[in-house]
Amino acid sequence: MLFNSLDYFLFLPLVFILYWFITYKKLAVQNGMLLVMSYVFYGWWDWRFLFLLLFSTLLDYFSGIKIHESENPVRRKFWLVLSIGINLGFLGFFKYYNFFAAEFGALLQQLGFNVNEFTFKIIQIILPVGISFYTFHGLSYIIDIYKKRIPAVYNFVEYALFVSYFPLLVAGPIERATHLLPQLQVPRKFNYHQAVTGLRQILWGLFKKVVIADSCAYYANMIFNNSGDYNGSTLFLGALFFTFQIYGDFSGYSDIALGTSKLFGIELLRNFAFPYFSRDIAEFWRRWHISLSTWFRDYLYIPLGGSKGGKWMKVRNTFAIFLVSGFWHGANWTFIVWGFLNALYFIPLLLSNKNRDHINIVAAGKLLPSVSDVGKIAITFFLTVLAWIFFRSADLTQAWDILTTIFSSSLLQPLQVFPKEPLLLIVFFMLIEWLGREHQFALETFGLKWNRWLRLAFYMVLTVMVFMYSGKEETFIYFQF
């Protein structure tokens, strides 16, 4: 079920009513209902995927208990390896099998081996929606128990809900057991302000997705799908459209997820913090897909030694998390190069100890940024746009062709496509984002000091815009990851 569909528009009030009016008296019943509805939400795509989700949940639930109950280090490690192995095995099979089969076959052929089509058969695999997200939920839980940061959960419904809670099930944020589980284990109370803030966040998320991302998607797709027909300036415009598409799409999804969860009195981890106002790449990565970045930091970067070793260890570990992050997005060299490029951007900051220069919010307490900040934001944004070209391209050849065309004299040629409406929408969108950048999301306090009717009119305008631009039910980019 998509957040931007009529299905969800009917599903959410139903769950809300069941949650606060029917099952509220008993926590176990309320959690059980949420779990059932989460499975309905997920099964809406394809009920067969539910078996994989249930299997993964059962595996981690029992492995967690086994690890927790055992004092024997070998046995603890056995359950840890078993759980991680099977989880990553599933992820690897569904997401990466064809990639490795094709690449390994090609390598053997280049080495002179006779490879027929059946040696590494490419098979039709349907990627279960959200598998990367719920696998990472389970992994963090198991690793945390192994590291004795948390005890195992014995209540199956609570654990299953932690993994499959519908607002975050298919595209995150990637939650931690330490943050979400305690909220699921205590009764929730309806909080008017929290619920209203949640609705505002849902509205802003829908605006980002339906109005901004889907409008940009049309032109980004048109330009990228026919990239050979366009000059450098138009290709750069296409990359810009994709830059706003992916931000509107993914951060919009996260806002709807967080807002939805607030309606149930449950706070989820923040996933985006106005990344396009970052002054360097390190800041960008503290503000983009935060739950994934921190996941990799805690479960990959730090275990590898983090920043404690020498310079080269830092470089190695940084490359490792960026490459793995790229690969996490999908089985394509374009994602790996995207990760590599970001690592290249990041390394100079790390080596010069400037990676934590911009911890605070840009131009905090001021209306406008300084000239220096504008320059830094522009450079960071430009570097990000270039990296997104790899992310969006079908393959490395296309990405390279686009880049070489952009960095040619054709960049100075007139635009072949100049859609005014989406560009105006982007300006409006970024203006609101800028004004709200000191808050959790742009609309959190925006307009709260206005006359209530004016504020209501503003919300109504946004709602009508969402309605006007909706109807296509475009899926979210991150569902494929």
Binding site: F190, L456, Y459, T463, F467, S470, G471
Partner: protein, 338 residues
């Protein structure tokens, strides 16, 4: 909580009110029964589900009409006119029913034939208008206007109605719908479907549509009609092309069911493979299967490059051929018997 819900309901009221509006307007004519689902002459403000109309209209009339002859197919079958066909099968036109659907599939036709059997409606004569795309379809399409009538598909009527409501709950649809109802209709769109922009004459008794205005337009404009539509009439390959085989186990089963029902009814039937503008021939494997199952004398393949598909003037656009082609085909397939 009360304050929260009250404010939320008030805010969303305009969107919630769309539901009663849908019930009152019934834009797709799926909520109530109608004597005729299309205006006798004109265009519908909404794209109406022809599959639903065909079945609903049949249910409304079959007990008094005594239908016993049926034309099955997609919108490409529209131009096989009942009056013309009835001459060959020697049946009164009023006992013939054009049981078609937009984007019809083999799944749809096999369900319809089984439905007729379940309703104990005799099938004395049948004309099946097939093409590659129709044979390929073995599942219910997703678009609301291609959803099969629940009585025929056996699927949930809640899902059927929900899909129609979803189609209504859409700004673009609402804008077009109310413009068509109360505003100025858009001028002829060259690549729009026939029924969207051209007035049709609808006869509920035979469930048949005629596009006389369109014929008149072609007669008036002549070559200009085709010159204006060069983008629609794409350039065709000069070398013969063949579609990939589409009849697999599912289709085989559906076709066998159709054959069994025809046999049980001792029906006289013909199967036509349409002469499509693309000039791509039906795969020989598929043709062979059809001929083996139904008999060579029953299956007539007009796909590929031939005298029907060469003249552009035989087509309204790239998808639909004109009544003159259908008339000639009827003549060929029924004279072949004698």
């Amino acid at each position: 909580m009360r304050l929260f819900l009250t404010k939320l309901l008030l805010f969303l009221l305009p969107f919630i009110l769309l539901f009663p509006l849908y019930v009152v307007m019934d834009p797709f004519k799926v909520l109530r029964k109608y004597d005729s689902y299309y205006p006798a002459y004109g265009t519908s403000p909404a794209n109406i589900n022809k599959d639903y109309v065909s079945t609903q209209n049949l249910l409304h009339r079959y007990k008094t009409a005594n239908y016993n002859s049926f034309i099955f197919g997609s919108s490409r079958s529209i131009f096989y006119r009942v009056n013309e066909w009835s001459r060959y099968i020697q049946t009164p036109p009023r006992q013939c029913y054009h049981y078609d659907a937009f984007g019809e599939s083999l799944y749809g036709i096999s369900n319809k034939i089984r439905f007729l059997q379940a309703q104990q409606i005799p099938i004395k004569h049948a004309l099946l208008i097939f093409d590659y795309a129709l044979l390929e379809g073995v599942e219910q399409p997703k678009e609301y206007f291609r959803q099969q009538h629940p009585a025929v598909s056996g699927k949930s009527s809640i899902v059927f109605h929900y899909n129609h409501f979803k189609a209504f709950y859409n700004y673009r649809f609402l804008k077009d719908y109310f413009t068509n109802l109360y505003g100025k209709k858009s001028s002829v769109v060259h690549d729009a479907a026939l029924w969207e922009v051209n007035k049709q004459t609808y006869d509920a008794a035979t469930n048949e549509a005629r596009f006389d205005d369109l014929e008149q337009l072609i007669r008036t404009k002549g070559d200009a009609y085709y010159k204006e539509r060069t983008a629609v009439f794409f350039k065709r390959s000069t070398t013969p092309q063949v579609y990939g085989a589409v009849i697999r186990e599912v289709q085989q089963k559906q076709l066998q069911q159709i054959k069994a029902i025809f046999d049980a009814n001792a029906a006289d039937y013909r199967i036509v493979i349409s002469p499509l503008y693309d000039q791509v021939k039906l795969n020989p494997e598929d043709l062979q299967f059809l001929q083996k199952l139904f008999g060579k004398e029953k299956v007539f393949d007009f796909s590929g490059i031939n005298s029907f598909t060469i003249p552009v003037t035989n087509y309204y656009e790239e998808s639909h051929y004109r009544p003159q082609v259908a008339d000639s085909i009827l003549k060929i397939i029924y004279s072949a018997r004698q």
